[in-house]
Amino acid sequence: MNGLLIDYNWCSGCHSCEIACKNEHDIPLGKWGIKVTEDGPWKLPNGEWHWTNVPIPTEICDLCSKRVSEGKEPSCVQHCQAKCMQFGPLEDLVKKAEKIGKKAVIFMP
């Protein structure tokens, strides 16, 4: 089973995944195959900044099965400017998430 790993410490909130996904799946205005949620900036109790973006896939996401069958990456993963998204079998992603250590999430849309 495949999933989508987000190293969300590095999601810059650039919205590329959103439009790339809309292109791939021909999604109309007001609807999304993946959407970036944003929280911040605000100061943590320790004085550091919190500003976190996390792209969240919707039910439209099929992990780009057509593209993947052609040997390509899912469109959001390829176009991600911060290179903070990875696609692959869950077991590989779990290992990668462990290596990242914190602020990682795996989606199984």
Binding site: D7, W10, S12, G13, C14, H15, S16, E18, I19, A20, K22, N23, L29, G30, G40, P41, W42, K43, E48, W49, H50, W51, N53, E73, S75, Q78, H79, C80, Q81, A82, K83, C84
Partner: protein
């Protein structure tokens, strides 16, 4: 590149290309694959083989189909009767007819009033900027190329400073961009620190720097960050030092950092000894900027300033990424000088992991363009000497070869020293866009002065609707062949081929426009070129390439050579050193002194600030900075692209929640931003990322969905922050404006 530039696959033609403009962007040259079916663009993807962007793409390029096939796109040439200016009353004509009219008008104004009565405008960042002078001097024969930004405050101040201080070679963060194998290249090293100074490159990709490379460097190569910015940016939240300074106090901050580096003996003695000039004088000058005083001026904790200075100076090698805040400040030439001084005395210029350096700029790079024009006799010396403002502001106008933008508005208003009668707009929305100050004054003055106006554009905008008598549809970067040179040639990471993939409009690209009017006005010169591809090969491509061989290669990366000054590569005579008057990087500048300014960097307060105008500040009690970028637009462009507008729907002004609470303003409220020049309204976004005493307004707003006709003109007066930016608040030498250091009041819209 493993594949040909154009190939057939699954019933589609796939064209490889490097993106630029139109619509506007900087010359980043992002790698794309364009899927074409039955002559139509059906899909656009990033190109995984592109060495810099490696498959990624920003939302604006991903939405290119929406731009190209937008219902409001100008699709054929049109004219409008002079008396119908301001009305949406256009008549379709052919391209030949359009050029007939343009030629006839050009000849009429040239013959009757002299070629100087024609002024050619160009917007920021876009492809047209590279050909702006050439179009003006060799297409129209006019001396008046105008970049209408007050104080020419974009990139040119930085480039000119470098030319005067070290003979050129724009310094840029070393992100391994010249290597095909990028970060894996032997001998390359990652910057230990990057100091981002008034720059948000992830959004702006400014000047051709691929901004998300900063994320690569931090995520994978351990680079640490220092940000110097009134706002905390997203990347700034990851910074080790965040110097949130009061807008406009950059020079004081840079001098404070120099004070620490010099007084704590953290500078590189060898680099100072060998490659700089005037260190003792600089050392004396920085004594005027002790860190306690700088902390008071800049509103930044002294410990943070000292910590950042120490971290940068003791971590070889490190880089400074200097941004638009250096330009949009009347004190900006001194900011640039101080930042170059920091790079030079810490030995971070032209070294792996420091700042890379472009090749030397001939002290008349742009003068070279005028020399070509003089040789081709498309313009003569007497005409060139009539450039508006050139005598008053030689520091600006000698190197840029343009006129002075603020002087142009003075001339339009006074008709002195002569009347400008014909305006040509190379996709520049001067009235409701991002660059001009006092936009209402520009509008009125141009309406009064111009007897004829021609424009090239993708879409109608406030400028075309108010003024144009003739419009040429502009082809996007998907619709024409051209060369992308990152940093406009001043520090080239690569030369990229932008390949034509489709035909959509009956129009021109920026090159065709120049060549077609050139062929009509000056056939003796222009007949040597057999079309755009031939012109590119003869004038613009790296030597040894034809257009066909260049586009097949796709990307040509020049060799990265560090420490060029030691090798005699920074001087045309092959001697070691730099092409400044002393042969070194000038911390004490001969040129600045000769132009009548202080040879050393210094700080001056912005014209209006809590310190310089305390009484006025009681009435307008916020420091106002403007112009931060969003991912979904290029300055004033992309406003009609629904999928992008869905993400950023309205103009935003950022306010600290405590300040908003005092004013009874809630998140999402429309608020007036008012100063002594007027008021505009934007939507309040409450954020802790900005000081309680500072607000930040977004720029370039107009509303394509509103009535375009006069007097509304797509509603630019409602929200465009440049409506209330003052005219001619420029620096002593002519560069700079106050777009990033004004004052204002904020209050809720109640009517």
């Amino acid at each position: 590149m493993s594949k040909p530039w154009k190939r057939e696959e699954n019933g589609e033609t796939i064209v490889r290309s490097c993106a630029w403009s139109p619509p506007g962007c900087h010359p980043v040259g992002c790698g794309v694959q364009l899927h074409i079916k039955d002559g139509e663009l059906v899909q656009i993807e990033g190109d995984p083989e592109h060495p810099v962007t490696r498959g990624a793409l920003c939302p604006r390029c991903l939405a290119m189909k929406d731009v190209i096939y937008h219902k409001d796109r100008i699709k054929y040439p049109m004219k409008r009767a002079f008396e119908d200016r301001g009305k949406d009353k256009w008549e379709r004509i052919t391209l030949d007819e359009a050029f007939d009219i343009l030629e006839e008008k050009t000849r009429y104004f040239t013959d009757t009033y002299g070629p100087e009565s024609i002024v050619v405008f160009c917007g920021t960042g876009r492809e047209a900027t590279v050909y702006h002078n050439e179009l003006t001097f060799m297409g129209f024969g006019s001396p008046n190329a105008c970049y209408a930004q007050s104080g020419w405050s974009c990139y040119a101040p930085r480039v000119s400073s470098m030319a005067y201080l070290m003979g050129g070679g724009y310094p840029e963060i070393d992100y391994a961009a010249r290597y095909p194998d990028r970060y894996e290249h032997p001998g390359w090293e990652a910057p230990k620190y990057i100091m981002l100074w008034g720059k948000d490159p992830l959004k702006s990709n400014a000047d051709g720097l691929w901004g998300h490379a900063i994320v690569d460097l931090m995520k994978d190569y351990g680079t640490k960050l220092i940000t110097v910015d009134p706002r905390v940016t997203w990347i700034g939240t990851k910074a080790e030092y965040n110097l949130q300074l009061r807008p406009g106090t950059d020079a004081a901050m840079a001098l404070g950092i120099l004070n620490v580096i010099i007084n704590e003996d953290l500078y590189d003695h060898d680099a100072v000894e060998k490659w700089t000039y005037g260190f003792d004088e600089l050392k004396e000058r920085v004594q005027e900027y002790p860190t306690d005083k700088v902390a008071e001026i800049t509103w930044v904790d002294e410990d943070l300033i000292i910590g950042a200075a120490r971290a940068f100076a003791t971590s070889k090698h490190s880089a400074i990424g200097w941004g638009l805040s250096v330009d949009q400040n009347p004190n900006g030439i001194q900011v640039g000088h101080a930042l170059l001084s920091i790079m030079a005395i810490t030995d971070n210029i032209d070294v792996p992991g420091g700042c890379t350096l472009g090749l030397p700029i001939d002290d008349d790079t742009n003068v070279d363009m005028i020399r070509r024009a003089l040789e081709a006799e498309t313009i003569d010396e007497a005409t060139f000497s009539k450039r508006i403002g050139a005598e008053e502001y030689p520091f600006v106008c000698q190197l840029m070869s343009t006129n002075h933008p603020d002087s142009v508005l003075d001339t339009l208003e006074t008709q002195e020293p002569y009347r400008l009668r014909m305006g040509v707009f190379q996709s520049s929305n001067v009235v409701g866009g991002a660059i001009s100050a006092a936009q209402e004054r520009w509008l009125e003055a141009m309406k009064t002065s111009f007897e004829f106006v021609a424009a090239t554009e993708l879409f109608q905008n406030p400028t075309t609707m108010a003024l144009a008598d003739l419009i040429f549809p502009l082809k996007t970067w998907v619709e024409h062949d051209t060369l992308v040179e990152s940093h406009y040639g001043f520090n080239v990471a690569f030369n990229g081929a932008c390949n034509k993939a489709i035909d959509v409009v009956e129009g021109v690209d920026d090159l065709e426009f120049m060549m077609k009017i050139g062929e009509r006005m000056f056939p003796e010169y222009w007949k040597q070129f057999d079309g755009v591809d031939d012109y590119l090969a003869k004038v613009r491509l790296p030597s040894g390439y034809t257009w066909e061989s260049f586009r097949e290669e796709g990307i040509v990366q020049p060799e990265e050579i560090y420490r060029k000054a030691e090798k005699g590569l920074m001087r045309f005579d092959g001697e070691p050193g730099y092409m400044s008057q002393s042969g070194r990087i000038e911390l004490w500048s001969h040129a600045y002194s000769q132009f009548g300014d202080d040879p050393l960097p210094y700080f001056i307060e912005p014209p209006r600030s809590p310190v310089s105008t305390p009484e006025l500040f009681k009435k307008y009690p916020f420091v106002l900075t403007t112009g931060g970028r969003r991912y979904t637009s290029f300055h004033s462009e992309h406003r009609q692209i629904e999928r992008l507008r869905e993400i950023d729907a309205q103009p935003i002004v950022e306010i600290n929640p405590n300040a908003a609470k005092r004013l009874g303003i809630e998140n999402g409220d429309w608020v007036w931003i008012e100063n002594e020049f007027g008021r505009v309204k934007q939507v309040a976004e409450l954020t802790e990322g900005i000081d309680e005493r500072v607000v930040h307004a977004h720029h370039g707003w107009w509303f394509p969905e509103q009535d375009g006709e006069e007097p509304n003109l797509f509603g630019f007066r409602q929200s465009n922050i440049n409506v209330i930016m003052p005219h001619k608040e420029i620096g002593k030498l002519g560069f700079g404006d106050t777009f990033k250091c004004e004052i204002c009041n904020i209050y809720k819209v109640t009517d």
